[in-house]
């Protein structure tokens, strides 16, 4: 098999853009100072960090001092959720979230529950949408934090964040959104979204792995997760990852330039993929919202077969996809997101996520459409669930 590999797992991580690598190299090679040092080596590093911070802030309509650099989306989620919970625990102990959050949010909420907080996990409709009315009804006088994601990493549904933000403001409750999947892919304006805090991760938008950000609106008190030195105005200690932050800045620049064009290009290809698969393969369904969804996300369930077999078969063809979110792809349980939108368990087991990127071409999609039917057919022929008549 000597065909060009086709990477359709951009929601797991994206290729680092060549422009980003170029931007990072000087800070890996020559300009290696510690951004906290007073001497010229340190000052050069600091200037680079502050330039990146300024650009990223303006990209999301925030102020530079509202951006705290972290090691990624998970740290941002943990920092914000635990940090707000701890700093507000005198006011209440109730947190509202949705049942389709990323594990970085769900497990953090689970941890806080063990520490004495109480957590409401709101249901979603069959398209994966949280109902803002449910949020309103869940608020009690103990509620200190609402955390609802911007775009779902599995099914791509984009949540009504601004509406939830209005409700949070009316009730004086802090509001966080996990924007790891949307940042750099759809426009983000923290004022329009009415969020107090937001998480993002550079490697999801062609930036480097190991760097992310927490947006913390001015005036929002938060307890640090990493205690230590004075970095990041004492909100996050540790030597700044200068090359990573510079790369993140460059990736955001690229997103600023390309996002609109890429979003329509990718969603057209994505639609072709979904329609083609539906047309060619019986007993297939699309998961997630038909319209309010990430431009690069397609999630489909193929009845009677199991996702890992599909994934391995595609991998043998050089095509990389995912069965669930990457971090749970070795788990045996079906996706909590597919369960939440009511996909029957057997069907959930037969689901694949295709996520496109900057490097995805029309030919890539056509090749997937050529090989998928055969793969599904072969596995269905082996499956005890497939009634003969049902096999496409």
């Amino acid at each position: 098999m000597n065909m060009k590999p086709i990477y359709l797992d951009h929601a797991a991580t994206t290729p680092t853009a060549p422009e980003v690598v170029q931007a990072m190299l000087p800070y890996l090679e020559g300009t290696y100072g510690n951004a906290s040092s007073l001497h010229s080596f340190g000052r050069e590093a600091k200037t680079a960090v502050e330039t990146a911070r300024g650009r990223i802030a303006s990209f999301m309509n925030a102020r530079p001092e509202e951006i705290v650099f972290t090691s990624g989306g998970t740290e941002s989620d943990n920092f914000i959720i635990k940090g707000i919970a701890l700093s507000r625990k005198d006011r209440g102990n109730h947190i509202i979230t949705s049942s389709i959050e990323h594990h970085a949010v769900l497990e953090t909420c689970g941890f806080l529950r063990k520490q004495g907080f109480s957590v409401s996990f709101l249901p979603v409709d069959s398209n994966g949408l949280v109902n803002p009315d449910d949020v309103k009804k869940a608020i009690t006088n103990k509620t200190i934090l609402i955390t609802v994601m911007h775009g779902n990493n599995e099914i791509g549904t984009i949540e009504p964040v601004a509406e939830i933000g209005s409700i949070a403001r009316e009730h004086g409750v802090a509001f966080h959104t996990d924007a790891v999947q949307t940042f750099g892919h759809v426009p983000i304006d923290v004022d329009e979204l009415k969020v107090d805090c937001l998480s993002a991760s550079a490697h999801k938008l062609h930036g480097p792995k190991g760097v992310g950000l927490a947006y913390i609106r001015t005036g929002t008190k938060i307890t640090p997760l990493l205690h230590g030195g004075d970095q990041e105005k004492r909100r996050r200690a540790s030597t700044l990852n200068v090359p990573g932050i510079v790369g993140f800045g460059r990736a955001v620049d690229l997103a600023g330039t390309e996002m609109h064009a890429e979003s329509s290009r990718q969603s057209a290809l994505r639609d072709r993929l979904m329609e083609g698969l539906l047309a060619e393969i019986n007993d297939t369904r699309i998961n997630g919202h038909p319209i309010r969804r990430l431009p690069n996300n397609a999630n489909l369930s193929f009845a009677f077969v199991e996702g890992e077999g599909l994934l391995l078969s595609l991998d043998m063809e050089g095509i990389a996809v995912s069965t669930g979110s990457a971090c749970t792809s070795s788990s045996l349980e079906p996706s909590h997101v597919l369960s939440a939108i009511g996909v029957p368990v057997e069907l959930a087991h037969g689901s694949l996520r295709f996520t496109l990127g900057r490097d995805t071409t029309r030919e890539d999609i056509e090749r997937v459409l050529r090989v998928m039917p055969g793969i599904v057919h072969r596995l269905r022929a082996m499956s005890p669930l497939a009634r003969k008549g049902a096999i496409s």
Partner: protein
Amino acid sequence: MRQTGPYNEKVMDHFRNPRNAGELENPSGIGTAGNPVCGDIMEISIRIEDEVIKDIRFRTFGCGAAIATSSMVTELVKNKTIDEALAVSNRAVAEALGGLPPVKMHCSVLAEEALRSAIDDFRRRQGKP
């Protein structure tokens, strides 16, 4: 054994080219194990003559390891006596495959169970316990 993925080459070979996939017509016994909710279900059909497994087929809904263990167990017991077949443990199946990742060992258990269940079905049809 070289790992080219979550699985070694031998597992991948059985996943790519499964032996004895399908269903026997008029089998002497059929057994199943697992359930679709857990993401794994195996069905084994056997034809037995003179206490020997003359033919065997499997159908599996499940991960790569589930398909490979099904394939392997059919190879291991084909042309064996029932007693010999019953002596094939799940570990033996996993070992014959050159090992499985720890989280996938349950697949080899399912393969053993499906085989036993097919043999039980055969005995039941014969009126034996």
